[in-house]
């Protein structure tokens, strides 16, 4: 039976079972999806914040902060048998929902720090749907490499 695996805010999930779907709802959070060119192994991390500023450790949330979150996901993929050179990424999220004058632009900083962390590990970003002012429901299909991105009011894109 294919599973629908919810990737909670601050957490990460990995699957190598074709048919499984990894899913999250993203506002200013960033979803980092990492795939393996050689097989179905697919993972997603649901990043909350660009970096630690108050010295509060991530606790059980391995993907709370962008840098450690990307690293933890890549480590998990390697433990599950992937080679780092075969990995590529897709990015979603990092929106700004309430316009210019309100909350800090955490989304934009999440995207920037996540990109930098992937660059440092030489993992290319092959597709992305980031920024803007709408939340996204992301569905990652294990095995096909397809990422379905839905916004409120049922429009849908595949990246």
């Amino acid at each position: 039976m294919p599973r629908r695996i919810i990737v909670k805010m601050g957490d990460l999930e990995v699957s190598d079972r074709p048919g499984d779907v990894l899913t999250s709802v993203l506002g200013s959070c960033v979803g980092v999806i990492i795939m393996d060119r050689r097989g179905p192994l697919t993972g997603m991390a649901h990043i909350m914040l660009p970096e630690m500023t108050k010295g509060m450790p991530e606790g059980n949330r391995r993907a709370k902060y962008a840098g450690p979150g990307v690293l933890a996901l890549v480590r998990e993929m390697v433990i599950r048998g992937a080679r780092r050179d075969d990995l590529y990424a897709k990015l979603c999220g990092g929106a700004r929902l309430f316009g210019e004058n309100n909350l800090q632009n955490i989304g934009e900083r999440n995207i920037a720090v996540t990109r930098a962390a992937l660059r440092k590990l030489n993992i290319p970003i092959l597709a992305e749907k980031v920024g803007g002012d709408t939340g996204r429901n992301v569905l990652v299909e294990v095995g096909t490499g397809r990422v379905v991105v839905r916004v409120s009011g049922d429009s849908e894109e595949v990246i």
Partner: protein, 202 residues
């Protein structure tokens, strides 16, 4: 920095504060909508940050949401959320039929933002009065989006120092109507502790 945790007694005090704030907000809503309001007892739940949205409702449901930052002696966040069908009910009351187009038109969103503004002002006035803390609402901003996206985006502002968040939630109902929305008050645990201390006279 260790996590600051709220105990049961503090949660009770905060629920009572939310109750007073909501009562005041309901009174201003009665004037604004020109009809009687029914107020549910506020819910106070302490949950891991990543589970807040699912405690409030269906995470994928589209909601209209008004947000305002609370500043002053403590920082917090107020949200007024409405399901789409409840937003229609509210707009039927607020707007003349000829101005009443459906969709997220600027007129519709600004009528809902104004409703949020009235609720937030009344809520904070009451909270300020019982705590002696000076608190001001910011300019309200409005979004129509998935509940989880909206709630989590606001939670990012307070989650760094808190693994668990106290959610103070009040549902408003109009006489003869279903829900006319929820008001949520969110703040870092440190700020909430301060609010309790001041309300109890330190």
């Amino acid at each position: 920095m260790p996590e600051i945790i709220l105990d049961e007694e503090e949660v009770d005090v905060l629920r009572e504060i939310a109750n007073i704030g909501s009562g005041h907000a309901a009174a201003s809503m009665e004037k604004w909508l020109e009809r009687d309001m029914l107020l549910d007892v506020p819910q106070a739940f302490l949950v891991p940050v990543e589970e807040v949205a699912e405690h409030i409702g269906d995470p994928l449901q589209t909601v209209i949401c008004v947000y305002s930052r609370v500043s002053g002696e403590i920082t917090g966040h107020l949200l007024y959320t409405l399901a789409l069908e409840d937003a229609k009910v509210l707009l039927d009351i607020l707007l003349e039929p000829e101005d009443r187009k459906w969709g997220f038109s600027p007129d519709n969103l600004s009528a809902i933002a104004e409703t949020g503004n009235i609720l937030f002002n009344a809520y904070l006035t009451a909270v300020s009065r019982i705590s002696g803390l000076e608190l001001y609402p910011g300019t309200p901003a409005c979004a129509a989006d998935m509940l989880e996206a909206v709630v989590n985006t606001v939670l990012l502002e307070i989650c760094e120092g808190s693994e668990h968040t106290l959610v103070l939630e009040t549902q408003f109902r109009g006489e003869g109507l279903s829900s006319v929305g929820y008001v949520l008050f969110l703040a870092e645990n440190e700020a909430l502790k301060r609010l309790v201390q001041r309300a109890e006279g330190e």
